[in-house]
Symmetry: C2
Subunit: 196 residues, 2 copies
Amino acid sequence: MARIKTNKDVTRREVITKAAAALFREKGYKAASMRDLAVKVGVEAASLYNHIRSKTELLHDICFNVANHYMEHMYAVENEPVSAIAKIERLIRFHIRQMVENYEEVYVSDREWRHLSDPYLSNYHNQRRNYRKRFTAIVEQGIQNNDIKSIDAATAVLVILHAISGIESWHRSKQKIDAAELEKNMVTILVDGLRN
Amino acid sequence: MARIKTNKDVTRREVITKAAAALFREKGYKAASMRDLAVKVGVEAASLYNHIRSKTELLHDICFNVANHYMEHMYAVENEPVSAIAKIERLIRFHIRQMVENYEEVYVSDREWRHLSDPYLSNYHNQRRNYRKRFTAIVEQGIQNNDIKSIDAATAVLVILHAISGIESWHRSKQKIDAAELEKNMVTILVDGLRN
DNA sequence: CCTACCGATCGGTAGG
DNA sequence: CCTACCGATCGGTAGG
């Protein structure tokens, strides 16, 4: 990560990382081999190491790119001058859109992050907890304002987060519903379940 | 599976399968080695093969035990003389209870089944689709009776199913909420989001 | 249930 | 970017 890169190197590396995300999503991190990845990229396995340091580094890059993106968005939402329920709706819509537009990376960072190794593993774990905590605080704010039913806020956040990550099943299926339609349906189910 | 078994053999096999479920949940199927499993059981790796045929067989047994259990329950619910919304509530409570009481097996069958190999893989895949289809039919029935909001039924089912499987995060956390409390919260969030 | 061991495959390196 | 190759680890078997 602290390497000096030429423009071409960055591009090549991005191609590899993108292919890795697709492969890790398809097979799982452990079941995906560097030889599989090499075939996908169109080079010999050994050649990958001119652009990346290790298999772990690929997973690391995918996970932290996604995490940073989500964290920045959370920060922006927190500082918007709108009601808690409006913030929650924005978070839901953001999650859905990320899942649809950036499917492979989001899926991998959600399901394969446990295969990170330890300086990064606990770092990532902490970021996830921090994100959930801040999401929970918004729900609790909504409860205090009487906009949201008096339920356990942490449970509500888990329900929302996992409901959205379940879009994978929809994504995998042939009958692709319109993305906007999907968003509308999910917001209806989730937010109307919260609203007083 | 077609082997002749003594009583002791059945017990031993069950111990191994239980340990495998815990191990596969903890590390993922691919990252879990038979040597890891042997340590957990307290024998040498080679000795495991007196009780089981292969690593895949362990995954197979875990997945299909859970699947059969869910399928039987679905059948029972379908034939109860209650409203669609009552059926949905029963399904939700069943899922939550299974997730809490039978955590390792349910988790593994939900997240690791894609590592099954191909006669069983497609069989399992079909069972999942069948289960979701029948769940969706119940939701659609509720929509026709005007008990449930006019949303896309398949999306609603995905939301429900994945929201519940997200209990893992709660399970993993230290602050274990009371199980009944959790059930109540989730039913409130999910069912009240559906009810007209 | 163990010791001994196998062929295959893995992530990664050396050297050009 | 490739050829050649490494040490480690894997699932599983033979034979007792």
